[in-house]
Amino acid sequence: MNVKKLISVKLLLVITLASLLIFSSITLLSNTTSTLASLLTAALEEVKDAKVIKLRAFCIGPGPMPITRATNLEDAAKVLNRILEDLGADVRIEIEAEFSELKWGPFAEKFFAEYKAGRAPDIVIGLRDIPVLAKEGIIIPLDDHVAAFWNLTYFDIYPSLWRSVTWNGKIWGIPQDATPGCIWYRKDILRKLGYSDDQMARMLPPDAKGITLDVIVELARKAKEAGLVEYGIVHRPSPGDTIQIYMTIFGGEVYDEESGKLVLVKSAALKMFQWFKKMVDEGLIPKEPPSWGTIHSMFVEGKVFATFASHVGTPSEWMAKYGLSEESFKNDLGFLAFPPAVPGAKPITTLGPLPYLITSQCKYPKVAELILLLATSPEAVAKHSIRTLRPVTRRSMAYHPALQEWPYGYTVETAKMLEVAEPPVIHPDWGKYKSIVYEHIKGVEAGILSPEAAVEELVKVLRAEIGDQVLIKD
């Protein structure tokens, strides 16, 4: 193996050093030349109207399903170009939509890395912390635009979604998507236990009004006793917005609008921990949360009665990757909002919204706004919902031609959840709060902490980590 003899080492040396040198000089040069080039172009643009306006967009998945976020922008550009053509105008729009399947974290890092270097995209969808973005001037407010086209199209989007993009009195994005959390349960197991479909519909109404969590627990118990399932209920193996749900259904709250601070209600936390402990002791919830793959697979294969770990659009992924058949989806799965666990609390689901945002580095904000107008049209919404099975974001989609067949009509059904969904909690420490609470839930499930001790420790850790940004109430 004497390849070395073929290429003399000296030559290799020279080549490597030379290429390093060349690389760096090209880089430095290209930086200079590209600056020159862009100066020239800018000047030219001032002289005559730009013929082609290029916009860049960053779109997040995560995962491959929501690629319609990107394709809808491209389609919007096509529509806009068609209008321009009909008008005989000399301008065309080109959109370069980059679709990233990576998670929220790397996506955000990537965005900020490019923003800081002055290369932010014009449109971005995948960032959720609107207050920070607005405060730092990273995105622009869209009130004028929304007001101008309100009666035309924007009135139709669910109010709860508009609330999720409003901050400090201004509107900062156009809502594109929502993933309301819900409980999925298996109807086929209930059938085996002897329940008729009517009974099921009465016991487990989708809006969860008039029932309590005990109904689910009771059914899970029966299923387990009958040996039909491995576990009664599984939940997320990682912190998530369901923390907000748990706290709320046990009678507490997590956010105080007035003071803008996070909240911990000790009594609710105690009841929540006690419930988890009881579930684990009865063998209804596994002592150690299995991995995501296992959770999804077990539910799809009918070995688990109910899953708290998914949202309304998850079936699209179940069908794509876990072998859920359309038949099975139609007949065997049911969903409902989270019912209260204690009297007095109300049923709840979280919104999980994601809006299109326009960055302040965009050179053609008006054009971008028009693109967003078209990218949230009924047709765009239908395309997105068909692909991802997520609820439609508009109220008047019931008669849209593309959604008449099953399972697409389903997305109109689930959209009703958007009426009652809780807005997301926006607070810089919300992420930490969720992690800490979740860690304590795991501690209780593992038997390391008693529910009472868990509450005490929770208070201490929250105080240490979040300090005065969290209010502790009894």
Partner: protein, 274 residues
């Protein structure tokens, strides 16, 4: 075959079992359609390997894996060459040339180790930013090389140290320049060291995700990013992940096996005195 040897074999087999089992599982999983319960392979199929002859079976089925492989090979190969070059030169100098501050130069290399990974990324971002090398390929290669030089340098120095002095004297008496000495005599003798350094250099660049992703523009087309994309949702296609992971591990493995040939024992003849 004495008792000691048998015991050794038993111990080796026991501790190696988890790894072997896991790799076999990975193999089987890559040929299955789905993982039941997320853990048990089901029906056998070649579907998941279809990216070998067609587009990658995900999303809109528009991408191919071979250009990505090429990119990754170029990046890893380039980084490896640069690092070997720099480190064999410097290792020789630190081992053989006496100058003030030798120890310091070597110790200095370890400064980068004191900061845990996450924080260092921000520091590197800004370094590249102020040098106008952000979002360029040379920038990322330089970072990767800088991160790997300390360990490589320490390793190489050790290997250079082990070459007896007599060779050097003899060669210099014969009229060799330093460079010729380095190239013709030392390099062949430290091949095991170069092999080790090469393997690590290749591997580090190969599995690099976060630097290549954040410090280069757009969605970087290397294999590690591809793998990350597969696990981005909670709903993961495990068999595809298994297939692509196996595909991903083959080049470094091949590279490793090739370099193993360079680990031939180095025999030295004649008046060796220490």
């Amino acid at each position: 075959m004495n008792f000691g040897k048998i015991l050794l074999y038993i111990i080796l087999m026991l501790i190696s079992t988890p790894i072997v089992v896991m790799v076999v599982f990975l193999l089987v999983a890559s040929f299955s359609e789905r993982l039941s319960y997320g853990l048990i392979p089901t029906r056998l199929t070649l579907d998941k390997w279809s990216f070998l002859w067609g587009p990658i079976p995900w999303g809109l089925k528009r991408e191919y894996i071979w250009p990505v492989l090429l990119n990754t090979l170029l990046y890893a190969g380039g980084s490896t060459l640069v690092r070997i070059l720099l480190v064999t030169l410097a290792g020789y100098a630190i081992s053989r040339i006496s100058f003030r501050g030798r120890t310091f130069v070597l110790a200095f290399q370890m400064i980068g180790r004191v900061v845990p990974g996450a924080g260092l990324l921000v520091g590197m971002y800004f370094t590249l930013y102020y040098l106008n090398l952000l979002f360029t390929i040379p920038g990322v290669i330089l970072i990767r090389t800088a991160m790997g030089i300390p360990m490589a340098l320490w390793i190489m120095k050790g290997f250079f140290d082990s070459i007896p002095w007599d060779l050097e004297w003899a060669a210099m008496v014969d009229g060799c320049t330093r460079l010729q000495l380095w190239r013709k005599i030392f390099i062949p003798l430290v091949k095991p060291g170069i092999a080790a350094v090469a393997v690590f250099a290749f591997m580090e660049a190969w599995e690099d995700f976060i630097y290549v992703y954040v410090l280069l523009p757009g969605e970087t087309k290397v294999l590690s990013v591809l793998i990350q994309r597969l696990i981005a949702t909670e709903v993961i296609d495990y068999p595809l992940l298994a297939a692509m992971s196996l595909f991903y591990t083959i080049p470094p493995l091949l590279f490793y096996l090739i370099t193993q040939k360079y680990l031939v024992q180095v025999t030295l003849t004649g008046g060796v005195k220490r």
